[in-house]
């Protein structure tokens, strides 16, 4: 069907207000230069149903979008007919502070939601990159994690239920709005991190959390990753339950804290960061006595190395920068690839050393933030000379992670890689079941077909 055909058919079936026809606006939905035939901004789940039914009948590819912050997570689309802009579905459907439960439409911006929750001294532990722009739906669909997972887990631990539109154009749900529930299969667990490949998420139910008392932080600097990892291990073996524990390599320290936009509070700016040091950043909260205890114990563990304590004024902006690592790296180094790895905590240090030497050998710049629980983000920046080596470097990193019992995947692609074969990600033994699920949910492969090929190469 031609673009004009699609537009005219759409205008007959959907509320014309929800069709984005202005070419300039339409261009803003481009992914790697690919413009969709139409963009739709439905204001109700019923409108999504209509659009999906139409797309299914015509076998048009739909890519649901929130605030459009994460296009880089998917390969360059080969099929991209309709952009489904979810930002008009932005209602807070129900919020019961006394029950610590919340139900929101997926287009609600995270920062607006945070404001509403803050009014009741509550929050969602979704301290994710692009926080000021991202929507709840995009955040959940992309499965992006946050430093706070150390204490609060990830979305799978606090999403209670979901409503979504299936490829057959029906409204389905799973879970509920109570904090404990085993009624039926947890379909919503599949939707988290599925990048819109299984259905269009229209509503998400969460449990909310009481905002901790004041948040403080402690940063220790080390010559080597070994010593940073050693301290992280000692924290894990202690009775402390910090909000986050992150190992940051010297390049990432520089990106986070000395880059022009960093705007660190003055109290902090004078003291750090020292050059060429690894940092271990720990956030924690509690009443005064508890804070004292953390500081005492963390100082003890840090020993004679340089370390600073950040009080309730200084800590939050530093922790916020840390959680924005991905967006900051992308801002500073436009053509980068970001890899994400899962690693057993005791393998972190040797793995990080491996990756450091792999990227040094290929003259790539490498910025790393590694969560103490064993999740690592690597930003690799090639220069014109080293760019050709990038695929091999990625391959080597995959191998290094596999050899240490972990796994890695391409999290964010630079433009050059988006053109490359659908996926470089290693094959996994459970691909067969994933493929079957994708077929079951979306037999015509209309939902973000190329996003699925992020994991499964031959799925297009």
């Amino acid at each position: 069907m031609s673009v004009t055909d699609i537009s005219s058919r759409l205008s007959s079936l959907a509320d014309s207000k929800c069709i984005v026809s202005n070419p300039i606006q339409l261009a803003s939905y481009q992914i790697d230069g690919v413009t969709p035939s139409a963009a739709l901004r439905p204001a109700s789940v019923e409108q999504i149903v209509e659009i999906v039914k139409f797309a299914a009948a015509e076998k048009l590819a739909i890519i649901p979008r929130g605030a459009r912050t994460k296009f880089g997570m998917i390969p360059r689309p080969q099929r991209y007919d309709l952009a489904l802009d979810m930002t008009a579905l932005d209602r807070i459907v129900a919020y019961d502070p006394a029950d610590l439960t919340l139900s929101v439409e997926s287009g609600v911006p995270l920062h607006r939601l945070a404001g509403v929750l803050a009014g009741h001294r509550q929050f969602l532990p979704l301290q994710v990159p692009f926080f000021d722009r991202a929507t709840v739906g995009g955040t959940i669909a992309s499965g992006i994690d946050s430093p706070l997972r150390q204490l609060y887990g990830t979305a799978r631990d606090f999403v209670l239920g979901m409503e979504f539109v299936t490829a057959a154009g029906r409204i389905a749900k799973s879970g509920g709005r109570v904090v404990k529930n085993v009624s039926g299969y947890d379909l919503h667990k599949l939707m988290i991190g599925a990048c819109g490949t299984l259905g269009v998420i229209s509503k998400i139910n969460f449990r909310t959390f009481p905002t901790p008392a004041t948040t403080h932080a402690f940063i220790a600097f080390f010559e080597t990753v070994n010593r940073a990892a050693e301290m992280s291990r000692r924290i894990a073996e202690s009775p402390l339950r910090p909000l986050n524990v992150e190992i940051v390599n010297p390049a990432a320290v520089a990106l986070l804290f000395s880059a022009p936009g960093a705007q660190m509070p003055r109290a902090v700016a004078g003291e750090f960061p020292p050059r060429d040091q690894w940092a271990l950043i720990i956030g924690f909260s509690g009443i005064a006595k508890v804070i004292d205890r953390y500081e005492r114990e963390l100082r003890g563990m840090a020993g004679d190395t340089d370390a600073i304590s950040l009080d309730e004024e200084a800590a939050p902006p530093v922790l916020a920068r840390l959680s924005e690592f991905v967006s900051i790296a992308l801002g500073a180094w436009p053509e980068i690839v970001i890899l994400k790895a899962g690693m057993l905590p005791n393998q972190l240090s040797p793995f990080l050393r491996n990756v450091t030497s792999i990227s040094e050998a290929a003259s790539l710049q490498l910025a790393v933030v590694a969560r103490g629980v064993g999740v690592v983000y690597f930003a690799l920046q090639p220069d014109p000379r080293s760019i050709a080596a990038l695929p091999q470097v990625i391959e080597n990193i995959f191998q290094a992670s596999g050899q240490r019992g972990g796994h890695a995947e391409i999290f964010w692609r630079p433009r050059m890689l988006r053109e490359m074969p659908a996926s470089l990600n290693p094959k996994r033994p459970d691909f067969a079941q994933m493929r079957n699920l994708k077929k079951t949910f979306d037999p015509e492969n209309i939902f973000a077909p190329d996003a699925f090929s992020r994991w499964i190469p031959d799925a297009r």
Binding site: D96, K173, V178, Y185, G406, A432, F441
Partner: protein, 479 residues
């Protein structure tokens, strides 16, 4: 049953690996629920390879396969509703690996929940999900039901602690989902599998997280003269954002049943008690305890006792964890329900439970995970009286109906099984159920694994299965 299948099973597992005599099967007609169903035989695999082969045989003979852990399930999950082979994991009960540094354990499904915690206690670790049945139930059962426990309130349910699974699917494939390292790429297959009630696959190996034991724990008993005051305390604790690690409630009738059996030190004349625990750093615990006490007192607790030492603490928990056993001693039959509601609705819901009890003239005890809003009304009846049994089920349905009405769900932790399949339409539409069925078919296309569970069957709503006389508790026949 098919003699060829039986012969093949014995060839695979040895004569002592298969039970098929009617008297041997009796035990396996029951689990912890009020349902019954007769299997054709029971088998005891020793390895994953046995389970793979077992599936092949069952598939060849188109015979259902039903997994079974300890049979403590409360929704008939482990019963062979359509006959077939019960696969008991009693002999696959080894802890395969404990990784201290990474705080992981790899276990076979038949490992008893509390055995894992006991095995790692000296390392300062534990497996956090702690169903009240933890001394008997298996981790395979926990995974299948996504079980919770008193400490779920702070630590989460089973799914929050399972990292990877090995299973034989209903397609016959041996698969591994997830990994010991976090965030395996792609769909969260572990997440969808946990809680699938044995309808996706037979679990043969489980990788779990181990959690560090807290530095300090304080357990407090708040005693009330009114159920309402106790439930309002819980609502207020939640609303204030205090997160105890456990918050359990027992009503007066249950307290007396428990005291007689366990002597936990619960006051016999109380109308309700709350058992509240806080844990963490010493400094945190002291502070949280103060807040909890304050809320209890504000809501007219007549007394608040803090366990002075580990012995007192254990005694209080013994009282809680043996409540069902205590009830079982005094009542010929009881039906444990499992509804879940928003916590602010606790006072209204407990009032409703009281009304239902009066309406049917049936004693209903309450002992439950109050902090999660997870109710367990225990409805007493005499199963020799068919009318009473029907009334018990009606009373239970009315309570569940109310839970749904106030925004809750039909089961918080015991599962749907064959008990609540008919109630699924209370919360799910045909579309929801269709999609769930399609997902079921991805893993279990021929429906060979645990058939007749979760999805509503054609059984009409008014029609209720009446359990036959329980042969187990009847006097042995004269020789």
């Amino acid at each position: 049953m098919n003699p060829r299948l039986l012969r093949d099973l014995k060839k695979l597992l040895g004569a002592d690996g298969v039970l098929s005599e009617p008297e041997d099967l009796l035990l396996y007609e029951y689990d912890g629920s009020v349902e019954t169903a007769r299997p054709d035989c029971v088998v005891f695999p020793r390895s994953t390879a046995d389970v793979v082969e077992l599936f092949r045989l069952a598939n060849r003979h188109k015979t259902p396969l039903v997994g079974r852990g300890a049979g403590t399930g409360l929704s008939g999950g482990a019963l062979a509703r359509q006959g077939g082979i019960i696969t008991s994991f009693a002999r696959m009960n080894r802890i395969l690996a404990i990784d201290i540094e990474n705080q992981r354990a790899v276990v076979q499904p038949g490992v008893v929940n509390s055995d894992l915690s006991a095995a790692v206690a000296h390392l300062g670790l534990h497996f956090a999900p702690d169903p009240s049945s933890q001394k008997a139930c298996t981790i395979g059962g926990n995974v299948s039901e996504n079980s919770g426990g008193p400490h779920t309130l702070a630590y989460g349910v089973t799914t929050n602690h399972v990292l990877a699974l090995e299973a034989v699917l209903g397609t016959g494939e041996l698969v591994r989902f997830g990994s010991a390292a976090l965030d395996s790429p792609g769909y969260d297959l572990t997440g969808i599998f946990v809680g699938s009630e044995g309808t996706f696959g037979l679990v043969t190996e489980i990788t779990v997280k181990l959690i560090r034991l807290p530095e300090a724990v304080k357990t407090l008993l708040a005693i009330y003269n009114s159920v309402n005051d106790a439930t309002e305390t819980v609502a207020e604790i939640t609303a204030r954002g205090i997160t105890p690690s456990a918050c359990e409630m027992l009503d007066g009738w249950t307290i007396r049943a428990v005291e007689e059996y366990v002597h936990a030190g619960f006051p016999l004349d109380a109308t309700a008690i709350l058992l509240i625990e806080v844990d963490g750093l010493l400094e945190e615990v002291e502070d949280a305890l103060l807040h909890v006490k304050e809320v209890c007192t504000m809501h007219r607790a007549r007394e608040v006792r803090v366990a002075r030492d580990e012995r007192e603490r254990e005694l209080l928990w013994k009282g809680r964890k043996n409540a069902f056993g205590a009830v079982g001693r005094i009542a010929p039959s009881y039906y444990t329900q499992d509804g879940v509601i928003p916590r602010s609705k606790l006072p209204a819901t407990l009032r409703r439970v009281g009304e239902v009890s009066r309406k049917y003239g049936l004693q209903i005890g309450n002992v439950f995970h109050a902090g999660d809003g997870n109710l367990h009304p225990i409805i007493l009846f005499d199963e020799r009286d068919e009318r009473q049994f029907r009334d018990a089920v009606r009373a239970a349905d009315e309570i569940i109906d109310f839970c749904v009405h106030v925004g809750g769900a039909i089961t918080g932790e015991h599962g749907v099984g064959m008990e609540k399949d008919r109630l699924m339409p209370l919360i799910f539409t045909e579309t929801d159920l269709d999609l769930m069925k399609q997902v079921h078919d991805v893993f279990n296309p021929a429906g060979l694994l645990n058939p007749g569970k979760i999805f509503p069957t054609s059984k009409g709503c008014g029609e209720i299965y009446v359990r036959p006389q329980p042969q187990l508790s009847s006097p042995p026949a004269r020789a």
